[in-house]
Symmetry: C2
Subunit: 211 residues, 2 copies
């Protein structure tokens, strides 16, 4: 058996793969191929960079034809590890946490909300989208039992670090942080910080250019 | 007076400017400079690309020292048009719309929520974060009176296109679409589609690589 060592994929390319995937999922079903120019236009990425990014997946387009959409989709899904389900917990069940718990796009992409946690005793026991909110003191035990890999922090900023410390105790190594605060985590834990105003700032740029 | 024509900034660079800004805002206040390597590490962008991106702003770092943080921040804010406030409306006041209405990060960055709209007569008149929810039939008139430039769609997917049509009638040219549906808009209208699962997909990649 020959094992082919593939080049590691640069971080910036990894960050664009979900965006390509989103565009491919929206791409008209009646067109089985897509050019790098078209995919680039849909995602605001230059065509040359699209080709370079996809070359890391071993995907080469056919000149004058483009990429096979179905094949490219499954290739990206495999690369992103979307061929299995991941249990996800949400910590902080205010408006944003509730919205995320109800967000259909997560389960569709294999991210199954397995637990909701809050410190507010008035919220504990209430049901959101079929799940009972549990007290955060139960998180460590639950996360180990459910083999939770990913946590979403949706608390106010001042509570985020304490939550991050609990997640560390629970052995959770991937964190999506919506709280408006930077968290410190041990080596090896991956944190993605989401700032909802980023997209508005991009719109603002185009607005003032006479949009 | 000499007018210097600046190169247009590529779309991909525009999309990274808010991310650089976010990193700069989080950068320790006791360090007045930042290197392109450091800024790149904070934002998952290669140092060479950071330098290239910032060169479009006319910002050049000093070799061995880096960029002046305060100057770079204000330069990016100016480029993104963040030196003024923008009135923003949110259409669809479910969990996500309510979360966005309460999100402190918007006002801090000059995006002032000026109106909340829904079709649900039970919601109309209810207050969220100090604003009364209004019926969507009032949107066109309100938007013109308030000179609203940006709208956020936070409805279910099936309602998004009808909302987009209303926004067009109201003369709103910039849309941030959280609804899980593609919308058709006239030429010149800028739409940013937000898929909240993108970040989870990036985490998934690192998870399966033994994160």
């Amino acid at each position: 058996m020959v094992t082919v060592m593939r080049r590691p994929i640069p971080k910036a390319t990894v960050a664009r793969l979900p965006i390509y995937l989103q565009a491919l999922l929206r791409h008209a079903a009646d067109d089985p191929t897509i050019s790098s120019e078209h995919l680039g236009a849909l995602t605001n990425v230059g065509a040359a960079k699209v080709r370079k990014d996809l070359s890391y997946l071993g995907s080469e387009g056919v000149r004058g034809v483009g990429y096979d959409v179905a094949h490219l989709r499954s290739r990206i899904e495999r690369e992103l590890g979307l061929t299995r389900d991941y249990p996800v917990v949400i910590v902080g069940v205010g408006n944003l946490g509730s919205a995320l718990a109800n967000y259909r796009g997560f389960a569709e992409r294999g991210f199954v909300i397995a637990g909701l946690y809050d410190t507010d005793r008035d919220k504990v026991g209430r049901r959101v989208d079929g799940l009972s909110i549990r007290h955060i003191d139960q998180l460590v035990e639950d996360a180990r039992r459910l083999d939770v890999a990913i946590a979403i922090i949706a608390t106010p900023g001042h509570a985020a670090q304490e939550v991050a410390d609990r997640l560390d105790q629970a052995g959770i190594r991937s964190i999506l942080n919506f709280a408006p605060a930077t968290i410190r985590v041990p080596e090896g834990v991956v944190v993605r910080q989401v700032d909802l105003s980023t997209e508005l700032q991009i719109l603002s740029y185009y607005l003032q250019r006479g949009g």
